[in-house]
Point group: C2
Chain length 190, copies 2
């Protein structure tokens, strides 16, 4: 193999291309071009575009800051706030474009590819579990009411975040992020 990093370059290019243009609009040639790889090399490394999307989801999931949610040196409610502030700042830097790759692939492909749907479900569940763990800690610490199950709050807050990204993308403004922080940290996580 001429370049040991060719596979890696294609994966990184796929994360970018899927995130910017969507699964259908980003063709295999767009991805290999962006990676500076010959199109013919694609199928030496990946069975299909779907198989690549599954790997891209894993890579993207690893950048969602889930490890920091488990950093017990920071009070749990502050961890939750910093988590979403970091995600908001990332989206602001993209000018409200791109959304979340997990939600993007859920929307575009989950109905049409069982293998991608399953990978999206796993990514969401992993994220939900991390949030739920931190919320449960916040409940134990008396920072958040125990009136609701941590899992229910986590699932809701994650959905609300995904939806806030959809809204921000449509009006290219931070209004939905402001509403998210006001309601989630002012009312839900109390």
């Amino acid at each position: 193999m001429a370049r040991a990093s060719l596979r890696e370059d294609i994966v990184n290019a796929a994360v970018e291309q899927f995130h910017m243009f969507g699964f259908t609009a980003a063709g295999v040639k767009d991805i290999t071009d962006a990676a500076g790889a010959p199109k013919g090399s694609f199928y030496n490394h990946f069975e299909s575009k779907e198989a690549l999307a599954v790997i891209a989801l894993e890579r993207y999931g690893a950048t969602r800051g889930l490890a920091a949610l488990g950093d017990t040196s920071v009070p749990p409610l502050a961890r939750l706030r910093w988590h979403f502030e970091a995600l908001r700042d990332e989206n602001l830097a993209y000018g409200f474009s791109r959304g979340c790759l997990i939600g993007d692939l859920a929307t575009e492909i989950a109905d049409h590819s069982e293998v991608v749907r399953k990978a999206v479900q796993d990514s969401m569940q992993q994220w939900c579990d991390a949030l739920s763990g931190t919320i449960a800690e916040a409940q134990q610490a008396g920072e958040v009411t125990k009136a609701l199950e941590a899992d229910t709050i986590a699932r809701f807050v994650l959905s609300a975040w995904e939806g806030a990204l959809v809204s921000a993308r449509s009006d290219k403004s931070a209004k939905s992020f402001e509403a998210f922080f006001t309601v989630v940290f002012g009312v839900v996580l109390r």
Copy 2:
């Protein structure tokens, strides 16, 4: 013109095709085939697929039940609950597929077509305004706290709904809807 209803048939087919397959995956020929119309007739009626998407969004928006949100014969909080229950039931009938066409087009196309993005923004704003009006009524009636602005709650709840559809689509379960109703009607609208 052979069929007076040809344009109408194409619009209805476009709503279905965009909702089922997405904007990029649903080609002009898929839409005209589904409408039983010759492909060549498309550009007699529509300037572009984007122009058709704008009309499809208006049609879809008219089915979101916004008029019922203004039905003052029903207490405002009950109207809000029925509104989202009807949307949930619609999605259950689709087996958790399709999502919301407005959110779908926001996710797939808002970054790439200014005309579609603007139409998505208008649809979202109209919906947000209708929700905000009903929430303000609920506040006046003492059903919902005035601690937050009705507009902020409306924007948040609409985002949370859009996100719940994304989650339901990814795990093909009603868990995110259950979390939505528990938190929105148990905690946020109080």
